[in-house]
Symmetry: C2
Subunit: 195 residues, 2 copies
């Protein structure tokens, strides 16, 4: 998605530690008009697909998923992050190892009321790197006997293993911008042959 | 907002401990079509007002604020919740005492880049009870020298003190549904004379 690559070039920032900050428009301040462009693009890509629900994870997936959902006419469900190990029979739970969030594991929870075997799920998230949060969301969908129809990612760090691993497992993953490399405070994108 | 009171009556649930659960449409599963009705209602109520930014707090405020923002054509900014006491010169910070989130204090943070003296802020949140999160958001806006133009709440627990205290301080707070009482698993609304 050229408009997204342009947005990242113009409003993103690569830190000294080679971390991409997109807090100007995607995960702290939210450019809602631009999120609508992302929604339209996912609708275009998944034009012939049927979903019953969009699943994401708090906090930074929520805005994207909510705006995207308007183009599919389905509800959003967001997994909650918890540090507690409480056993709660009413929720699906999965353990996630995080490399970004204080490097600690957390538990994601989804109420059993809102996901079942009839659901065709589109998973939406802002970033895909090692894919740990995504694997947790996939695990939750499997526990519910629902089906992961597709996965829509805004920015994929293609040099990390998550996308490759999950595509090899058969998941249909679409990333709107794929980063080939980040170093010395700048980044390069994977050329998108389909565009 | 009668449609909201109806939604709460039909899809909300008051627990044994007199907690209102609206996770079917507002803060876990998200009825995005209904959130658009909330957005239209805030636009109707604030028809003659000018805002430059909508401020909310993760996680459950994000979806509402993002959908509402579409009716005002402004960006959203969400305060992040943190347990850390890190001193970070790049953020406005405020301490919040929570009565719902494990009864522990947390810190909210907002990047200084995204809020300044020229901003006219509409604060949006899902619930208003004691008003602690709201007081934290107001504190952040004050630190930035921006101005709180108005506050839009989806559900106010009118029997708790937050709304009364903050209205007495002069804040313009609009709550789309006001709960007068919850007991024995049921609730009653404050009649809205303006409707």
């Amino acid at each position: 998605m050229e408009a997204l690559r342009k947005k990242i070039r113009e409003e993103g920032r690569v830190t000294e530690n080679d971390i991409l900050k997109v807090d100007a428009f995607l995960n702290h301040q939210l450019d809602v008009a631009f999120l609508n462009e992302i929604g339209k693009e996912f609708r275009r890509i998944f034009a012939d697909r049927t979903f019953t629900k969009i699943l994401t994870i708090e906090a930074s997936g929520i805005a994207i998923a909510s705006i995207v959902a308007q183009y599919f006419g389905v509800p959003v469900l967001f997994a909650k992050k918890s540090r507690s190990q409480n056993i709660d029979g009413d929720t699906f739970r999965s353990e996630v190892t995080s490399y970004t969030y204080e490097k600690k594991a957390f538990t994601i929870t989804v109420s059993k009321k809102f996901l079942n075997e009839n659901d065709k799920v589109l998973i939406i998230d802002d970033f895909l790197a090692e894919g740990n949060a995504l694997k947790g969301l996939i695990d939750v969908v499997k526990q519910s006997n629902a089906h992961v129809e597709a996965i829509g990612i805004v920015i994929e760090k293609a040099y990390q293993s998550g996308g490759k691993t999950l595509r090899a497992e058969g998941f249909d993953i679409v990333s709107l911008a794929r980063i080939a490399e980040m170093k010395n405070g700048s980044l390069t994108f994977v050329e998108d042959e389909e565009e």
